[in-house]
Amino acid sequence: MRKYFGRKIFVYALTFFAAVTINWMIPRFMPGDPVQSRLARASLSNPEASQAMRDYYNSVFGLDMPVWQQYLNFWGSLFKGDLGVSIWLFPTPVTEVIMDAVPYSLGLLLPAILLSWVIGNKFGAYAARSKWLDNTVLPVGYVLTATPYMWLALLLAWSLGIVGGFFPSSGAYSFALRPEFSWVFVSSLLEHWFLPFLSLFLVSLGGWAIGMRNMIIYELESEYANYLQALGAPRRLIRRYAFRNAMLPQLTGLAVQLGTVVAGALLTEIVFSYPGLGFLILQAIQNQDFFLLQGVFLFIVAGVLIANFIIDIVYVLVDPRTRIQMQGGAK
């Protein structure tokens, strides 16, 4: 057990190191100069003042040091929980910018992913044993999975938001309100949340349902199911086994989805101007905000790794086969 997790943790650490390094490199090797664009925004005419400001910014962001020094400093401050200062929202620290956005992304994606997973699996399992459901769920499921989610988002924003006027189509809450814990604010929050949520929910629903349907059919035709049927076991028992075993690959799929919980919503958040992490990525790129981009990516990497690690643990709990392999006891 310890050996298994030791090995896992080592792999995760290695992945983390590589991801952070690449993550540090990407913005720095992107074309463009963030300091230059800040200066342009200040539109100074005096070249001396401009030089002074450039020096100031360079030292604030640590860009005046040699590249290797920057890299080491980056790791150093990373362990202190310091991701630098945002260029776009200067002088707000990156951690603060990210922490403001995280609740929106999580609040959008976690329910969308978990609910679509649960409901999709239920639907798929039912579809596998009912012809009528199979003939409806399957085509609808295929259409849904094949739909690009930002397109569905646009469609929803246009039909239910702009034309229908049922839901607001941009922002996380009404501009007339300020965040507080009141009934008005919360209901505005929910109204704004609904459309982006629905678009993400619908698109992944189809995929889960199809996957589950196929897995159940496969399991029901497997040899243990045949054997149980030959011994006259009731369908209930066989279906229970099939459902449980079909859940295992679905669980892996969920892990992958949960890992991308933040990155996945990029386009949805842009369509609905929803101030989550995806929206931040766009802003960071447009404003050449190295530190913010780095910070967001770091957050995503950590998210993927943590989600995978959790699923590794869950898998050990639900699938005895992984437990056996862990002990190296399979003959």
Binding site: N226, Q229, R244, I324
Partner: protein, 316 residues
């Protein structure tokens, strides 16, 4: 007489028509008899075995009757068959290695299966333990998952599991084909022991390995192209077969003590007819060296000697 099958017909539904995989065999099985059911691939031996316990989705019951201990077995009615399954007719499947749910401990799966069939697990627990030990396993296999067992161990567990309720008829479908030779022997002997201890009354051992089944079976029945060719006591089938197909089948077996460096093993020339639209008359006609005009009529399956049945005009 434990089992009586008369004129059982089971076809496979395909897009091009019915494949007549089982075309009216009629035979009986005595109490305590172990019958080897032999034939090449596509002869209908597995179809016969399956038909007696559960028709799968592609199989279609066309006609015929099955009787077990004097009761009619409703092979055509999947639901009614449940009364017979496991309790009176049981199966050791070909795929015994993967017959158990991989994500349940064997004991728990057994308990769930038994309870679902209305048998109290607690009441048979002791007998289960005894039989697990009888086949040379430790009782703690019940606390393990199937993956923790070797192939041979899984096979033995399935054998115990399948026969736990003392069925009248056991169908063992190619039980030895996935095992190495020494394990094959052990499995075969266990089958005999199960019969001797009256865990099962009679047994049909479906196999293509005549030399193995010869060692355990009381009688051997040979099938060809969906029909019965010959049934006789095991020794008679090997030493004095009457049907030309059986003769060629037996002579194609390697013999102990003969070196095959100089002499080539011979097979049976030709291949069995397609069963989508089988030829009239004797189905072995096209490959038979003795075939003549009268073979255009289907020969009846008749008793030529005591307990020796043959379907051939030339067998007298």
């Amino acid at each position: 007489m434990s089992l009586k099958v008369s004129d059982l017909r089971v076809y496979y539904r395909t897009l091009r028509g019915d494949v007549r995989a089982l075309d009216g065999p009629a035979f009986t099985l005595a109490d305590g008899e172990i019958m080897g059911l032999a034939g090449e691939s596509g002869s209908g031996k597995s179809t016969l075995g399956k038909s007696l316990i559960r028709l799968d989705g592609r199989m279609k019951y066309v006609g015929g009757a099955v009787e077990l201990d004097g009761d009619e077995v409703p092979v055509w009615d999947d639901r009614k068959m449940n009364d017979f399954r496991y309790k009176r007719i049981s199966l050791i499947p070909q795929y015994a290695m993967s017959a158990m749910n991989p994500t349940r401990k064997i004991g728990r799966m057994t308990a769930e299966l038994l309870e679902s069939r209305g048998v109290r697990f607690r009441e048979v627990r002791e007998e289960l333990n005894r039989r697990i030990e009888l086949v040379g396993l430790d009782v703690d296999v019940l606390d393990r998952y199937p993956i923790e067992l070797s192939g041979g161990m899984k096979q033995r567990v399935v054998m115990v599991l399948s026969t736990l309720l003392n069925p009248s008829l056991l169908i063992a479908d190619e039980v030895t084909s996935a095992l190495d030779v020494s394990t094959q022997r052990a499995v075969a002997e266990t089958l005999v022991e199960f019969r001797d201890r009256r865990f099962v009354k009679s047994m049909i051992v479906v196999t293509h390995d005549i030399s193995l089944v010869y060692q355990i079976a009381d009688s051997i029945m040979v099938m060809y192209a969906g029909r019965l060719a010959e049934k006789a006591p095991a020794r008679t089938i090997i030493e004095a077969p009457r049907h030309p197909y059986t003769k060629m089948l037996i002579s194609a077996l390697p013999e102990v003590g003969v070196k095959y460096a100089e002499k080539r093993l011979t097979g049976i020339p030709g291949s069995p007819p397609g069963l989508l639209d089988p030829p009239k008359g004797c189905r072995f006609r096209a490959r038979c060296p003795l075939a003549s005009e009268e073979c255009e009529e289907q020969p009846p399956f008749v008793e030529v000697e005591r307990d020796h049945y043959v379907a051939c005009w030339k067998a007298e």
